[in-house]
């Protein structure tokens, strides 16, 4: 009886995790690629020719602004895979955490971290774009 109740509780919370995953995924990853970051930087006339904290900051702000502002339901070809990937990532994280902690704690940790995944992914992608940029001669 208790086990059945726990399973139901797991599924309910899993529903919340999926909902948050979809929201975060669609908001941050409806048009997310290195090419988009570079393109948006070019449109904003940002320098991405060398790695510096100032360049990383401005590039990340510019990319986040674009991702958060755009029509998220107008998905680019790579977006469905990325959005589904985020949802799967959160679900797997929830299931793994569930092995160690209670369902509610697992759901709290996953949903708490969800917005930071979008920020972290954008920051990492911007670092990569700057790191591989050829220094201007």
């Amino acid at each position: 009886m208790t086990r059945f109740a726990l399973r139901r509780l797991d599924i309910k919370l899993l529903g919340l995790v999926v909902s948050v995953g979809a929201a975060v995924g669609l908001r941050f990853f409806s048009d997310f690629s290195f090419a988009t970051i570079e393109h948006q930087a070019a449109l904003a006339s940002l320098s991405i020719s060398r790695f510096s904290i100032a360049n990383l900051g401005s590039l990340t702000l510019n990319s986040l602004g674009y991702q958060l502002e755009r029509d998220w339901f107008n998905l680019t070809p790579q977006a469905p895979a990325e959005v589904i990937g985020i949802i799967v990532l959160l679900v797997v994280a929830y299931i793994l955490l569930r092995l160690a902690v209670s369902p509610t704690v697992a759901a709290v940790i996953v949903m708490f971290g969800a917005p930071f995944i979008g920020i972290g992914a954008t920051l990492s992608a911007c670092m990569w774009v700057l790191a591989r940029a050829v220094p201007a001669t």
Binding site: T2, A5, L6, R8, L9, K12, L13, G15, L16, V18, S19, V20, G21, A22, A23, V24, L26, R27, F28, L61, L64, G65, L68, E69, R70, D71, W72, F73, T104, V105, A107, V108, M111, F112, A114, P115, F116, G118, I119
Partner: protein, 336 residues
Amino acid sequence: MDWRNTVLVTVLGLTLGCLYFIAIDLQAPTYSFTQEQNVVGGTAGSPYRYRVLVPFVLEGLSHVFSFLGAPQTAYLGASLVYDCLALLFQFLMLYALFRQFFSPLQSLLGVSFVSGVTVLTLAYFTYQPWSILEVALFALGFLLAYRGQWVWVGVTVVLASLNRETGVFLPLALFLASLQDLRPLGMTTLRRAAHRRETYLSFALVVMSAVIFGGLRLVRGSADPVDELGNVIVRNIQRNNVIAAASAIPLVLGFGWMYAALGFRRAPTFLRGVARVLPFYLIAFAIWGWWREVRILTSLYPVLVPLVLVYCCDSSGRRRALLTALHLRRAPRRKA
């Protein structure tokens, strides 16, 4: 006070505040500044001219940030501080409201869920800073009413009415919640209901909110609407907007919509009562709102998310009740 959870809620509030600033204020800083100046100067169109609370707060904050340079730069600095503080206030108030009915962990679950789905609402608008505060004021109003602190509820209703015309939904929700049982519907039942303290106080607050609504129009003068109702309706039923709204509205709470509906019947009386405001708010949203702009639905967080938590946390609650019942049954036996 749950300090650890308060710190976590603070982190979420400040993070979402920064995201809001990047998504909204940093996108069109000149437009936002002009809008704010128009409201403060009394030249904005209707209804923005009458949403006075936040623009005047931002104006005051801009003076504090005047050391940053030009007025627009100072305004941008003020916006960043406002966005962060307002979202922090919103999340703290939601947490405090949830704590009236749920454990600290369950309340944190509710706030984490809200922070996750709020990310989706940061789109399709430029200058709407009052929406952040509205959620906080609704949550605060419900919390104070639940605790019976009606003087402070009155203050909250005044602030909500000065903030946005939809502030009237706060006292309306409390009024509807105070009408516990009107069956059998008749004069005696209605008279009995009217004599309840919560009923006449909340009704007085509805009237007060309506007076503020009218007073603002009287003091600040009549203004042409920013959007004619006909235009709003035509825009809403355009194919692109219908598709966007049909995707955004379900996604803004996700499974939460279903959970809230399922949790309604099992919810505490107060939560069931304030949920009666939902049809009224949704009808207003359907008529005057831009459907894809789901930011407008965030005002329903204090009503809907507790119902979501009721459904989600029901199993553990039932288990605890079962354990308590078993314990109570065993206790007399031990004594005997």
